[in-house]
Symmetry: C2
């Protein structure tokens, strides 16, 4: 095939070994030439589990070291049809309001020998282009922690790119999912609130298209009802601190019974809500107003907040997501799996007996 002189296999050329054409990075051919072996022998040395003699390995490795040779992962990917790249789709929201998550996922991917190709997606159009990009870069799989439409998911499926959803899924479609189910914890919190004399609650939910928000909202309503706590107001936020603060304001402006406890669908809004209650409305939390929320991010336990919240086991969830993506890459036709982790209540200090 080749008439590039550097590709000829005879180990030496006109009697001289030229270690490396200046400025070019060493290829397996360069190493082969220096070691006086075939190029495929070099390739084998870098593939674990290949049958190769100790002598050969030694010679090759010596030459490789000398030339600072490292196999070209791009070329390898081209032939093996495995890029070892995983697209990680996150929204700005996720990283700002839950910075631990992205970091954990990346670390776990790394530990599994995969690289994270990071994509930020803010809108459905973003998701569109991101999916095309991921496809162009031949990613082995996708971990989606951001919005994705069902059509987009189906496109990926059709293209045989495994997808693991992180904290979201399509109910009416088979998909591989890692998820946190806080229903038990919500229930126990509701019970606790009832025992503390709370009878009127308000809810600050997240964006309605967000799965986590919808589920937490649904579970919260169920649990409150179960323990005879009225939901006297419900407002929608966008997961941000500001929207938590604004949410409390609009709850207060609604006529009728004022709630003695606010459930915020994530910690960041819980913090906004708490700050608004204290600094603007002059309320004392928890004695005038109790607040509970979800996520268990680091900040929620800062002593200014100490939110009573339902933590997600983000480390285990990340590990699971990565394990699932590698599994689906190995066995694409395997049936789907949904791994659901329980939450855990962080007691915090943002709930107390309802004011009388």
């Amino acid at each position: 095939m080749a008439n590039n002189p550097s590709k000829k296999n005879p180990p030496e050329e006109n009697g001289k070994v030229i270690p490396l054409i200046k400025g070019r990075r060493a290829t397996s051919y360069d190493v082969a030439r220096l070691a006086g072996v075939s190029q495929s022998a070099v390739s084998r040395c870098f593939k674990p589990g290949s049958s190769i003699s100790g002598k050969m390995r030694e010679r090759v490795m010596k030459a490789a070291k000398e030339l600072e040779y490292q196999p070209n992962a791009i070329a390898r990917g081209l032939i093996t049809q495995r890029s070892n790249l995983v697209a990680v789709l996150v929204s700005g929201r996720l990283n700002l309001y839950y910075p631990e998550a992205l970091f954990k996922i990346t670390e776990e991917l790394s530990a599994a020998g995969l690289r994270a190709l990071l994509f930020t997606v803010e809108s459905e159009e973003d998701a569109e282009t991101v999916i095309e990009q991921a496809w162009q870069f031949q990613v082995d799989g996708v971990i989606s922690a951001s919005h994705m439409s069902q059509a987009q998911y189906e496109l990926l499926e059709k293209r045989k790119i495994p997808v693991v959803f992180f904290n979201r899924y399509f109910a009416d479609h088979p998909n591989t999912v890692v998820y946190c189910d806080p229903s038990e914890q919500i229930d126990s919190l509701a019970k606790q609130l009832a025992e503390l004399g709370h009878t009127r609650a308000a809810l600050i939910s997240g964006p309605s298209e967000n799965m986590v928000s919808r589920e937490r909202t649904r579970m919260t309503k169920a649990s409150l009802a179960r323990f005879n706590i009225d939901l006297v107001a419900e407002v929608q936020g966008d997961f941000s601190y500001e929207s938590g603060a604004a949410g409390l304001q609009s709850i207060k402006q609604q006529n009728g019974n004022t709630p003695s406890v606010i459930v915020c669908i994530n910690d960041m809004m819980g913090m906004g809500c708490m700050d608004e209650a204290r600094s603007v409305l002059g309320l004392s939390v928890p004695s005038d107003l109790s607040i509970v929320s979800f996520d268990g991010i680091g900040m929620s336990q800062f002593s200014s907040y100490e939110l009573t919240t339902v933590r997600q086991p983000i480390g285990r969830m990340s590990e699971a997501a990565v394990r699932m993506i590698t599994e689906r890459v190995e066995r694409p036709d395997q049936s789907h799996e949904k791994r659901v982790f329980e939450g855990a209540v962080i007691p915090g200090g943002s709930i107390a007996r309802a004011p009388s």
Copy 2:
């Protein structure tokens, strides 16, 4: 070269056009066959600026659309020697204590047509393996917002991989850098503190190997001295909330003059320090104790904190970093550049007249 039937250029085979071998993803050959043109024509259609007729383009694009063809970026990278991949090196610290940064960088890369290959580096050994990984994946460049030793940097230089340092640099080595210089702002804050009657300050610095921490520390000391404010204590933290709290404790335990103002080298420690002052020591901030810090992260302005801090223009810095990396990829031999942005004081509410 090829005897793979799908590679034969004759557009049709035994009279039938087979749109796509089932399950395989379409290649430029498939598109060529369907469109009845040569494979190279397809390639040209996807390269902007190629000379190609309207008719041809139309035919090819139609076929491409039908087959959902997208060029394989990996194969392209192999031949063009450009992966369009940029390694982004961040520490967990960065993302936890400054979540805005990574996000901005990724977005800017994306806008420049580059993909972020995300690496987390916690230690010098991590950096070692990360650099090898980046090299294997043929990244076009590296944006380093994490620790990197000079030897590691020199290795990358030797391999002709452009590096842009984000908020760090080697003083005695030419390098391309985007940086924030808060000295003016520190000076004006010091002046303001002096005018408010402060004469005793303490400092909570960051890890000594961290450039940003060292520089901020140095500048702070200079400015305090300039305005005759004594530095009565200096303790070292690790940028975390907890270390800010612990830092205040150890300052308090040191005998001698108690400071009326604490300078924290980043916001996260400022928040820890403030919380510790309020909830544990029972001090009122700012009337009993003033606090100033650096970064200007979103959280620092939550109403529980409202830190007086020196903000970094992180958006502009990210944009600059990406622009610099693309420039260095285009022209690797161009001389280095250092882009230094000024900070900006966020007035906040954490400083007040020194208690008498």
